[in-house]
Subunit: 294 residues, 2 copies
């Protein structure tokens, strides 16, 4: 059975795994990126023997430029137009595929579940990302940037976003945005994890912050459904791990906001792959690149 | 040379044309729908001899259900789940393809221009519609409803939309919505055509109504670009025929609102096919159904 190397470049940790065409995970490592992300990458990759592998798939935090194989992850200042595809090809001698982290998450869910032929994978974490599978194929788009759901505007009177836009979903529904909103209303916890704990315990400000974020996510999901006609949404990411404290208000907001008939059957479910969805997607990308049907 | 019959079902008129595989229009008729749309359809179709045709493509105002070949155009109350595909197949004895009017408009622009491989066709008229061509193929979606750009929400504090949603693009940027807004500010003209004439002449309220509609369209276009990574938008429909009075503020709003780098190269151009874009798209649909490369 053939196997590939899957690499997941996040904002705080890098993960890598050898994954077989039977979707089995053969080995998995995860390391904090530390002060030298390039050295971390070399260490991470160096732990796998290329001999038994037929290719590499990389899912990375964005933005990225698939044409040049470079990435500029917002949370890794040391990497600006970092030629990660070439770097990994040099380290392994293997063909390398590159896509966005949320795109890989969507592809991983699709590959692992063989769920609906068209779906949105949504990552709710420090940022908000998305990836599309349309008619059974990952849809990356002309420049490789399809699925940028975190930066669609849902409120012309909303906050200015670092991207340059106004009222982006990310300014309301990301972990830091929800936490900032709760703090502006007197909440004093440390982070989004604490916010979800407090919301679960019934803290009204924490619940309001999640309801507000969920309403923004519902608008973004229904917008995506109206444009590309998907009805299946799988949600992952650190904030989504909060569970019902997010999914309860999210389902309610979807029911309240859905207008046209074909938008009333959109279902949202949590990822069942937890932190590994992106790795499975990167693996699927590598198998596709190698022409191996999986 | 093979030819097909193209049918365009609008809210106030029906049009039909025989179109050749060389993109030449052989014959074209247009009739008001009158009090009996089914009789109008039979008259319209009856004017063409099926002998010289290999298929029929229909573009219709929505909503529609491609699976059952039925349409329920909002502006034709007599038709609810009207089985138009079966009706036309009975009338002609030919295979029939069915898609949305804005989807056909996008496909017609794509076929006629052989422009960008991925594009959004946007119809700004009594309603707001859209159609997508992705990677050189029309993208209709799972239920055939892809491209519903008129009913994405861009403002949580916006007006309630007849679709059931809130703040839909159509509540701001359609002809009737812009006219209603201008009237609420003291303008007294009869319709959107008069509004565009007055805006061209410098009437400040009319200009404000167009600027407001253009800002909503810009948000919707950038949302579409962020999700499916297109940079080419072709705009048709009665309101778009107003020309620079719409396109000027639209280009300005796009420049002001675009955040992420890949959204800064979105171009909007008016249709060059005027009222015939939908007919060309319906023809392309019929040729595709017949397996004739065009």
């Amino acid at each position: 059975m053939s196997a590939v190397l899957a690499v997941d470049i996040g904002g705080t940790t890098f993960a890598a795994a050898a994954i077989g065409a039977d979707r089995g995970m053969i080995a998995r490592v995860e390391v904090p990126i530390g002060t030298d992300p390039t050295a971390t990458l070399a260490t991470l990759i160096g732990g796998f023997a290329p001999d038994g592998l037929i290719g590499v798939g990389i899912g990375s935090a964005g933005p990225l430029d698939p044409a040049s194989g470079s990435v500029s992850p917002v949370n890794i200042p040391a990497w600006r137009r970092y030629p990660i595809a070439a770097a990994v090809a040099d380290l392994t001698g293997l063909p390398v595929g590159l896509a966005g982290d949320a795109q890989c998450m969507a592809l991983g869910e699709y590959w692992h579940r063989a769920a609906a032929p068209s779906m949105l994978g949504l990552v709710v974490s420090t940022g908000i990302g998305g990836g599309l599978v349309l008619d059974g194929e990952p849809y990356f788009g002309r420049s490789g940037n399809a699925g940028h759901i975190g930066h669609i505007s849902i409120d012309p009177a909303g906050a200015r976003c670092p991207c340059g836009g106004t009222g982006c979903v990310e300014t309301v529904a990301s972990g830091p945005s929800m936490t900032a909103y709760a703090r502006s209303r007197g909440w004093t916890g440390p982070d989004a994890r604490a916010l979800s704990t407090d919301a679960s315990a019934g803290n009204p400000v924490a619940r309001l912050a999640f309801a507000r974020g969920a309403a923004a996510l519902a608008t973004a999901i229904l917008t995506t459904a109206a444009l590309v006609d998907i009805d299946t949404v799988v949600v992952g990411g650190g904030v989504a791990a909060a569970g019902e404290v997010l999914f309860g208000p999210l389902r309610q907001a979807l029911a309240e906001q859905a207008g046209l008939g074909f938008l009333q059957h959109v279902t949202v479910t949590p990822t069942t792959l937890a932190r590994d969805a992106g790795l499975y997607g990167a693996a699927a990308l590598a198998f596709a690149l190698a022409g191996v049907p999986v």
